[in-house]
């Protein structure tokens, strides 16, 4: 009997060593507060926040193949969870994140059941509608502070550091959860739906159940990041909670790093945030143009992200032959 080769899981988590490098970088990021710089803390907390949101998007967009343009909704809901708790006199990060996880899971299931029946751009448009609808809703609900926003009581003196570590922990949890989900049967169901929904169905994998699961877990990730952001920011209003940047950056980061991989969102967040920071310093008025240019070039020449290059066998020729842009 010839032995069956061990499973190659590269396709589902990305290269193992890249993930280990990412974990190493995460460990390195623990030392950012040692710099005693509020600027550094804030900058890297934002990078971690985008990474966590990108992981949330990656589960539904990258793994399950349903491109969402509304994941900022979960971030916003998470931020408002902190505001609501603070108003009720509860100022505790664990409570904030806990409430955000529960509310987002419930909201995602309720919204996901109808809109995950849609496919392709119809799904994308529906998710955009959800995000826009929530922005309007938050502006008109008095107990959320309406369009004037709501303040959230900050905890302690050394709050920059506390919130930094909280965001770090959320991001690490998203990263590790993604790695283990991707390798599990659950992750394979997501990928099966992305690769061929009809085939998954024929094999008895209920697309609805798994799509809603991917969407809800992703919602919890974005919500956790939102809850920490709300508490850290001390103030939340609809344009901040549902900012367009918070919608687009996580998607661009996942694409840059590699959709449907366990390291892609983190790598993408580091690089894209870094690029954005530099561009903003040197070309204040033009930085959005550069940023948009990077996204366009990525989609054209590296649609499967940097993780694709890492795993590429067959070199330049294989890369070029895979590119849709050269096919007429």
């Amino acid at each position: 009997m010839v032995a069956v080769p061990k499973p190659r899981r590269g396709a589902i988590t990305g290269k193992r060593w890249v993930f280990l490098v990412s974990l190493g970088l995460m460990a390195g990021l623990l030392f950012v507060p040692a710099g005693h710089s509020d600027y550094l803390n804030l900058t890297f907390r934002n990078i971690l926040m985008y990474a966590a949101m990108s992981y949330g998007w990656n589960l539904i967009g990258g793994y399950t193949g349903y491109i969402s343009f509304g994941n900022v909704a979960f971030f916003g809901i998470g931020a408002y969870c902190s505001a609501v708790l603070s108003k009720a006199g509860v100022d505790n990060l664990f409570a904030d994140v806990g409430l955000a996880l529960i509310v987002n899971a419930l909201f995602a299931v309720a919204v996901g059941l109808p809109i995950l029946r849609l496919r392709g751009h119809y799904f994308g448009i529906a998710t955009l509608g959800v995000a826009l609808g929530l922005t309007d809703l938050a502006s008109n609900l008095d107990f959320l502070g309406g369009s004037g926003g709501a303040s959230i009581k900050q905890i302690g003196e050394a709050h920059f550091t506390t919130y930094y570590y909280a965001m770090w922990a959320v991001t690490l949890a998203c990263m590790i959860a993604t790695f283990f989900i991707a390798r599990s049967k659950l992750g394979y169901a997501f990928v099966a739906i992305r690769e061929n929904e009809e085939a998954a169905q024929v094999l008895g994998i209920s697309p609805t159940r798994y799509k809603v699961t991917a969407w809800a877990i992703g919602a919890m990730m974005g919500g956790a990041a939102g809850a920490v952001f709300g508490a850290a920011n001390g103030f939340i209003d609809p344009p901040t909670a549902f900012a367009v940047d918070n919608n687009v950056f996580p998607i661009a980061m996942a694409i840059l790093g590699g959709m449907g991989t366990a390291s892609g969102p983190f790598i993408g967040a580091l690089l894209l945030s870094g690029a954005n920071e530099l561009l903003q310093q040197h070309f204040l008025k033009l930085h959005a143009l550069f940023f948009g240019g990077i996204i366009v070039l990525m989609i054209l020449f590296l649609p499967r992200g940097l993780m694709y290059l890492v795993g590429l066998r067959g070199g330049m020729r294989r890369w070029l032959s895979d590119l849709a842009v050269f096919r007429v």
Partner: protein
């Protein structure tokens, strides 16, 4: 156990596709379902697998009413489909594709079954680590059949296996089906390649615009002047 379809009607919205279709496949039988484009062949398979809503009639497998079960329970009861166009998971390896076929199984014999399937399809053992999307058409069809076998079917529904494949490849796939059949699996094959289907099957049904118009032993249909005129072009 017999698979029996009784007075089955199915529709997509207002468009009726199947009208009172009845057919029966016995244990260990090979049955062909032939008919032209748009006759409703794939819809019938979809209805059996629980993927197409039915408006009337019923599908029974032994004593179990399949039409009251969700698709996953139908697969678990042993009625498994090889869908048209192969429908592989292109960026997963051949091995991963095959294991996806066993997704619903919780028993400990999945690895042993994988070994058995690979023994039947040695070509796939050579290709085991390849991405399914990179294989040739014939190899992909082998993966699709093997993936269905990993679900431990007792009744295999195969939709347009020969589509787009060279005759020599079709012959080798039929050899594989012969082995599968010999291992105790009943086969319902849907084919546009009428000649091939009728030479391979024991019995056949002819489906025309959603109705069963003819049925009988396959060799008899092969000699039937109506079938010859309509499908064989002689």
């Amino acid at each position: 156990m017999n698979l029996s379809v009784e007075n089955l009607s199915a529709a997509y919205g207002d468009t009726r596709v199947l009208w009172d279709v009845s057919l029966e496949i016995g244990e260990r039988e090979i049955v062909a379902l032939i008919g032209s484009n748009g006759a409703g062949k794939s819809t019938l398979l979809g209805a059996i697998s629980g993927l197409v809503d039915i408006v009337g009639g019923e599908v029974r497998y032994g004593d179990v009413k399949l039409n009251e079960l969700p698709p996953d329970r139908i697969v678990q009861s042993g009625v498994v489909q090889v869908p048209q166009g192969r429908r592989l998971f292109g960026s997963l390896s051949v091995r991963e594709n095959l294991l996806m076929g066993a997704y619903l199984r919780r028993d400990k014999e999945v690895e042993a079954d994988l070994e058995r399937v690979l023994a039947m399809l040695p070509r796939l053992r050579e290709r085991i680590g390849y991405l399914a999307g990179r294989l040739s058409g014939g190899e992909q069809q082998q993966v699709a059949i093997a993936r269905a076998l990993m679900a431990r079917p007792k009744m295999l529904l195969i939709d347009e296996m020969s589509l787009g494949l060279a005759p020599v490849l079709v012959d080798s796939l039929l050899d594989i089906l012969t082995q599968i059949h010999a291992s105790g699996v009943a086969i319902l094959m849907v084919e546009q390649d009428v000649q091939t289907a009728l030479e391979f099957a024991e019995r056949a049904y002819v489906l025309e615009t959603g109705r069963i118009t003819l049925t009988g032993p396959a060799h008899a249909l092969l000699d039937d002047p109506n079938v010859k005129k309509a499908y064989l072009g002689v």
